[in-house]
């Protein structure tokens, strides 16, 4: 294998691993920018991965062929939206501790998805393997460019979508009045309230968008990587996405960079194994790499993180 293909494939794998993290981290940004901590990202991803696995299977079963993964994605979006209402009602309406409410989401997701899988698939611990997940879509002409063509333009449609969405979210947050309101509600809710912004409504929107995006991230794991949903389809990606969000200072572009960084350090582990000298390195050290790198980078470069000012505080209009 020549080095050009290797680099191209490395870029490609990096993006495949990053896609789910990008969606989930963008989701986290929506929620936390509105002032609601969302540690339940992991749970929303689980719900999304589950819905995608189940709905695509039934769509395949009904003979929908190549359209079935898209049915799966649709189901994941709906599932994420519904599940996020639990977090929203508890933490916004009932002013529950937002961290606790997020933990609840993770518990409910882990329990209920497997419960339903066992119910629907006659006791099996995972969904039936999908015949077709999403396929890679090469972009004409562009995909013929050396290195970059293989790396960037021969990818899943979800990956293209994730990258476009980063720009969209950036635009929405910083260039529209909706984005200004959302951020205002997370920084200084009572000031926003004074000028007529509906604080609770904005926070509901933030949390629901968050759940939908994280579920979309989960769905991409099922549809591009595993082709089935089981108890370890989502194991830690949600927390990594939270890390990417904090790492990227709650900014979509920063979170994108961090997500790609995580995807890269995960992908490079696979490529080390191609070299003879990699036998000298214990495999556990390669697995550890992304996490240790993150700690080092955080300590060396980023330092004090800048969370939205009112993150974690329920809004109580009567309180001064």
């Amino acid at each position: 294998m020549d080095w050009m293909t290797t680099i191209g494939q490395l870029i490609n794998t990096t993006l495949v691993f990053s896609t789910a993290l990008i969606f989930a981290a963008l989701g986290g940004i929506f929620s936390e920018r509105s002032g609601v901590i969302n540690i339940g990202i992991e749970g929303f991803m689980t719900f999304g991965a589950f819905a995608a696995g189940v709905a695509s299977f039934y769509a395949e079963d009904a003979g929908m062929g190549a359209a079935s993964p898209y049915i799966g994605i649709l189901a994941a979006l709906v599932m994420g939206g519904i599940a996020s209402l639990i977090h929203a009602v508890a933490s916004i309406t009932f002013k529950a501790d937002q961290v606790i409410s997020g933990v609840v989401i993770n518990f409910l997701a882990a329990g209920s998805t497997l419960y339903m899988v066992k119910l629907l698939f006659e006791g099996a611990g995972e969904t039936t393997l999908l015949k077709e997940g999403l396929a890679k879509v090469p972009i004409p002409l562009l995909s013929d460019i050396p290195i970059i063509g293989e790396g960037l333009f021969n990818n899943y449609i979800t990956t293209y979508l994730a990258i476009i969405l980063v720009l969209v979210v950036f635009y929405v947050l910083y260039k529209t009045s909706f984005g200004l309101r959302l951020r205002a509600v997370g920084e200084h809710p009572s000031a926003a309230d004074t000028v007529g912004v509906k604080v609770l409504r904005m926070r509901y929107i933030g949390v629901i968008v968050s759940g939908v995006l994280a579920a979309l991230g989960g769905a991409t794991v099922t549809l591009t990587t595993t082709n089935t949903f089981s108890h370890n389809t989502i194991s830690g990606q949600g927390f990594i996405a939270i890390a990417a969000m904090i790492f990227g200072k709650w900014n979509p572009l920063g979170a994108f960079g961090a997500a790609v960084f995580f995807g890269f350090s995960q992908a490079i582990g696979n490529y080390f194994q191609l070299f003879a000298w990699s036998k000298e390195i214990p495999q556990e050290f390669i697995y550890m790499l992304p996490y240790v790198l993150t700690v080092i980078v955080l300590v060396a470069a980023v330092g004090r993180s800048s969370a939205p000012a009112s993150l974690g505080e329920p809004y109580d209009p009567g309180k001064r």
Binding site: A96, D97, Y115, I240, A243, F285, Y291, L298
Partner: protein
Amino acid sequence: MMSKLFKIFSVNSLLVPLVAVVMGLIVGAIIMLIGGYDPLLAYGSLFKTVFGNVYDFGETIREITPLIMTGLAVAFAFRAGLFNIGAEGQYIVGMTAATAVGIKLSGLPIVVHALVAIIAGGLAGGIWAGITGYLKAKRGVNEVIISIMLNWTALYFSNYIVRNFLLEKGQQRSEEIKDTASISIGWLSTAFDNARMHWGTIIAILAAVFFFIYMWKSKQGYELRAVGHNGHAAQYAGMSVKKNIVKAMFISGVFAGLGGAFQVLGVFHYQAIFTGSPGIGFDGIAVALIGLNHPFGILLSASLFGILTYGSAGMSFGAEVPPEIIRIVIGSIIFFIAAQGIVRWVLKPFYLKRKKEKVL
């Protein structure tokens, strides 16, 4: 003293969690009904499993013990205003340190060897959490993100240690620890029909008492709570916020590390190579929340958690209900405790009634 104790268990503080538990069980029942199962049969077989014979009862106590330790770990940090999501990693390094000492040290007398292994586990957990505390205090890095990264690092690091230095030939686990390092209680295990009983359970209860005395009866505990409550005010009063953050994380990690050590020295007597995270540390978050971050509340909530988890295996035998239903029940319980507004809303009619009666 008695009045204080009474206050902890007073009606008001206990009522919300109790109602939340009942409501959680009801949610579970409804979901079972929707799935076409018999909830009464399911809960019946859950409790029959746990209390049906001495062996299973003993094993339930075995299940509860590490949950007490990770629950205390999470709660201790919470009291100091820190979210220790890293109890999982601290628990893992605690296991590995105890395993290493249990296997590699030899020639030590029976109680001493076990004590050294326990201390090694506690210290490993404490240092692992201390890293997080130090980085938070000195560099201002978010403790949640560092803990999450250290959880995965701990998992792979432990696997590395076990695979390269402690491996039993041809197996995916370490050698057995020396008998001198074991904390199993032979006669008690015999009394419980060979359930794996060990001294860790006793130490866990003592740890809860220590937590209570340290946090509410000592100057150091007062400082931790002050820092947790309002860092700026504590700083102004002359307390070192940074020192207290590191200290709180260290002690928190010691609890979790001890939990891991007990599991190796008292239950398995070896450490398996992990294929995934064991989850006891994450469960500790739930235990701490249900126990309202109070050490005695945690003894109760860890018991509840352990009973439900251990009994859930019986549910799938007895009523063919997938045991995952218990995660839903536990999630719902935390939900109702967190969103107390919902519980109070449910309780409101009863309160109103009582008031009316008083007026009459």
